[in-house]
Symmetry: D2
Subunit: 377 residues, 4 copies
């Protein structure tokens, strides 16, 4: 499958895999909770991971998958940053692109993404943060929650309400770019997994120049955010697959070494069947994620395919992590090994990033008004 | 995704879809049990479906999927015939290819495939039918079971033992080509589904010329059969997806028309979520089947990917058929509608064609001796 | 667990088991489609199965389970008849009880149950059949569908609308008892499974005496039907468990005899694990069904427990039938063996009798307005 | 169902529920990681929880379920202690019973249970710790892992090898009772969940009097441990159900308060269906656990029923915790709420205490040599 990609993309992926194998995987477990991994981000900058989203989207998805296979905690930063790159590249003015895009692509400035609020959750149409025009500038007053990397990011793309009177709630929103110092971190939020990177509650009370608004006019933030999230959904699916693959291979490595009265665990027919079953589910989800990436790359409609890919990937990752727990037995419950962390990490995809329940409802809702299409279902 | 394919392949698929929509789908339910569908096979011959396996394998898989979406009963014939084409094209002598391949590709002669026996089942290494050399010819003595299309096929590719003394049981097998009249149908076997086409027990007691042996020398039948079955596995996965898609869309069509006290079934959030969930699973399996086809087309190792695709497709088809049953409720249990037939058809893929249990064990067994590979898992 | 029951009930169950083992199980497969099993019903009358619903409800559930283990087709008749017994015993007038109950309990007259209509389906509140008062009698005009045993039953309990103007649709319904000849069978409906007994569309256009109305006054039919269906739900759960247990043991029997290259299927660790997993699921569903029966017997609120038992039992039966299909492989798809019939039979419980989707929604809807209760969840 | 129990048992359970509701549930989340909950154990002693295993086993199971619903971390201590009570009551000498049982039943001395070793894991037959006779005393040399409560327990029941030459590995084992100070805690082991109580690696190098051996003669430790673990398995099933019920109700409480654009989460049909489905699975597992407890109480063979109950309960608890995660969405991933902890806690039952994979294999292995039994499956 990789031979479809350009030689440059293949070289890029080989470099990512080599980095993951040598610098990430062997240390991920120990590093969780051991402080901000600045050294790894420096290496990722050199490798070009902060501009990977401008490559063929399959290449981007595979790079994300490899990173997540190494350590999920590296992922949210790349995904948020890529969303900002995407927003800047496709929705910003020419002047903004000239000003910000080089930095963003080089990874010299890493951007976070601030959408979620305490009350609305993922229901962006009802967010309460605002930006008010004040003498040709914007006064931004915002409280956001579940904001990844807010403690270290250089920039932050933030969604706020610019028209409180819009009849359609989601019409009155706009995206702005903030610079470090323009937001305050109120609290780091303890999480089940993905613990290598901070997730925060933040507040903003600042006045920014007019050109911080993404695009020419306010009121387009919802559509811009939706566009960015859809690319992000493919990345989320790829990340889930990466975590699932690591859970699978962690179990295989354990099974090769662990003896039972009936021989190595890897020799047990029941263990083999469970591993094979998890692998088949992961492989299917991966194929769909890559297909959705390819569809998007070709300019086709990919939203349902991307949502379905996220659902399949989240289920497959969870299956892999739970299968691994069964194979590891009592030792898998101990945080010394990787089993438990990989279960904690895989659960991110069930709960967050558009829950499976929300996305299957979305897909089903569209299907009942559609016709069969050989190109996807 | 279809735009990856050549224009000729896209035209071919469009013709298949048109045929399925106009000639197959509307009549499939009524025709089951109403006799051999010779008219449909004639149209399929015109459309080039009996040589479809020589196209890009993704195109072949998509054509199979469409046919199965129309009526599963059309499938086993195409799949068995394609296996014979494949065997002839890649394993026959030049003389055999010259003699048989034109007829096979034109669909003028349709071939069945006789592997399974009562005792050994799918365990081909232990089959008991034999071919003995007799004065430069072969005396074939065989009993085979679960042979699809044996009552109407023109040719039959049959696997028998030519060396009873081989230390390795599977080394002593060979493939032969039989012509109509050289086998006897002993019984038609009643089946749970796929009832539009006969499945038979047959017996053979005949002497055939030396050149009926596929290839130059005897003893290569097991490897030839395995090669042929692996291409067939992709077709089986595609067929399962086709049945699953029909089950999904049959449910959607029903849901759009069926009123409940709370409105149309299609408006019920729970029904939408169930449909969306089944669709996501089908889409993932389909993507994997197409990826396996592409890998095979490019000459890569595809056996595990194809096995995983069959497993994912069988599960997805069953999920779709069962989801449909829940949505149809009591009426789905009545054979007036298509729900029940689609469940019966979808169950083929659980039981047969390499059960999921066998194939996941196979995949898992290989994984414990492998390393992670970005190209599949 | 059986030792909780009275000696009389244990004797009764032992007799049922002996009957199932000797007269039902060995012939069920052959008899499906071979005509109305009048001889078996005669034996069931002698055994007291038509009055079993007046015993301890756990005993009733266990008797149902055993019958269904033998042959599901025997079940719907007993269940419909028991519903009529129940309706007569708890909702009829004293005169009606004196007149009908002895016959019903003896099984001299077997009653069918006519609720479902083509349009409304299981949505009883919207049924369209009517009974109009005509000179101290009732003129019943009805079309009913999915009516089991309508071709042979002696009596029929039928739900119709007596007050077309009731503001609350379900308030205007009443139950009547019809006698053979007062309904016409319009069509036998072909079904996926449970094929040993007819299911029909019927029509009624008849005038009956006033005392055919169940109870003193009209308008109580919906509540009466709901009460009867709730007892029936426990029986449905028990029947599902019976089918599931037979599917499990059919697979075990096959596994003990079928050789593979690695030994008997029964020796394969993967087969054992699959069988054990299906058994655990069945055992849990069975325990819940018996617990619901016990709760009802003690006069407690059992509706959610009974619904949950039906859901768990339907899932477990399907799991058992599908697990069996995997273990049987290609041969399981052949209707010579019992695998396929047991899958067809087990699917009844997914589609019908309150689909799992409907019942889980019901349970969930109640839970969000309840508090935890140590006595069930 | 509770009305089956004696008035004394019902009063006991009511007291446990009251304690859980007032003292445990409201504080559990905050207390995890906040030190040894000595105050709660004192209250549990007063309530009689350390002798609860001598009550009707259904009462014991329900008490365990309630405690686990409050806080899983309280459970392993009660379970290990109860195992010691059980071992003492049924396997100790009369003198030992007189000496230890009063203290154990009063909870004045709380006992831990030391079976698992680093190498053998749950494969007790291959453990390497030893006790050697030395001048009428025993010299115990042991390394044990995954030992709960080892940092605070007063006593410890430990399984070691007394006959290194026994042909049957499990014949040479014996149980001993150690007193605080006779073992050393080498390390506290970090765990995925159940974090309110320590789990340790310990080592023993001590000489104890002859009467520390449980029973009259050495060599019976394996059978004694198996007996104790089987009672423990019911308790483990009950604990899983308790955690699952809390996960369910935590989700319900959240759903009642959390607004979405379409209304409260509790009003969403999809959420209701998911909650109902999880509840049905939990209810079935609970019924089976209580049935197994009842069977054991009556002296029947309950090992397969108990194993099946553990499997069903572990699956149900996990389903409930994962369903809750989906309903909670992104917020469920935050450790501020209980969702994440309940998922971590529920995973204990997948990995440990006899993994589902091991136990389903056990059940299946027995089934293939058994006959159907109306009393369980």
């Amino acid at each position: 499958m990789l031979d479809i990609l350009s030689p440059a993309d293949r070289d890029f992926l080989a470099a990512v895999t080599a980095f993951v194998e040598s610098d990430v995987l062997p240390h991920a477990h120990r590093r969780e909770g051991a402080g901000y991994p600045a050294d790894l981000f420096a290496r990722m900058r050199e490798l070009g991971l902060f501009s990977a989203c401008t490559r063929d989207l399959r290449t981007y998805a595979l790079a994300i998958e490899e990173l997540a296979r190494g350590w999920l905690s590296l992922l949210p930063i790349v995904n948020a940053h890529s969303s900002s790159v995407w927003a800047c590249k496709f929705h910003a003015t020419a002047a903004q692109r000239r000003q910000w895009l080089p930095w963003l692509l080089a990874g010299d400035q890493i951007a976070a993404l601030a959408l979620t609020e305490q009350q609305g959750g993922t229901d962006l149409a009802h967010l309460e943060s605002t930006a008010e025009p004040v003498a040709g500038r914007w006064h931004i007053t915002a409280s956001k929650s579940l904001i990844t990397h807010a403690g270290h990011a250089d920039l932050m793309l933030i969604l706020v309400r610019t028209d409180p009177d819009s009849a359609l709630a989601h019409r009155g929103l706009s995206l702005f770019l903030l610079s470090q110092g323009e937001w305050a971190v109120d609290r780091e939020i303890p999480k089940l997994g993905s613990r290598g990177i901070e997730t925060c509650e933040i507040s903003v009370d600042t006045i920014v120049p007019a050109d911080r608004l993404i695009g020419e006019v306010p009121g387009r933030g919802f559509a811009q955010a939706m566009d960015v999230l859809e690319v992000g959904r493919i990345a989320v699916a790829a990340a889930a697959i990466g975590v699932g693959r690591r859970a699978l291979w962690n179990a295989i490595e354990y099974a090769r070494e662990r003896a039972t009265a009936s021989g190595l665990v890897a020799e047990l027919p029941t263990a083999r069947q469970q591993l094979g079953s998890a692998a088949a589910q992961l492989a299917a989800a991966k194929a769909l994620a890559l297909s959705a990436a390819d569809t998007k790359q070709r300019g086709g409609r990919h939203d349902l395919e991307a949502s379905a890919a996220k659902v399949a990937a989240a289920s497959a990752a969870l299956t892999a992590a739970l299968t691994a727990m069964e194979i590891g037995g009592g030792w898998a419950y101990v945080e010394d090994l990787e089993f438990a962390r990989l279960l904690r990490d895989s659960a991110l995809f069930i709960a967050g990033e558009g829950s499976n329940s929300v996305l299957t409802s979305l897909v089903g809702g569209r299907l009942v008004n559609a016709e069969p299409s050989l190109s996807w279902i």
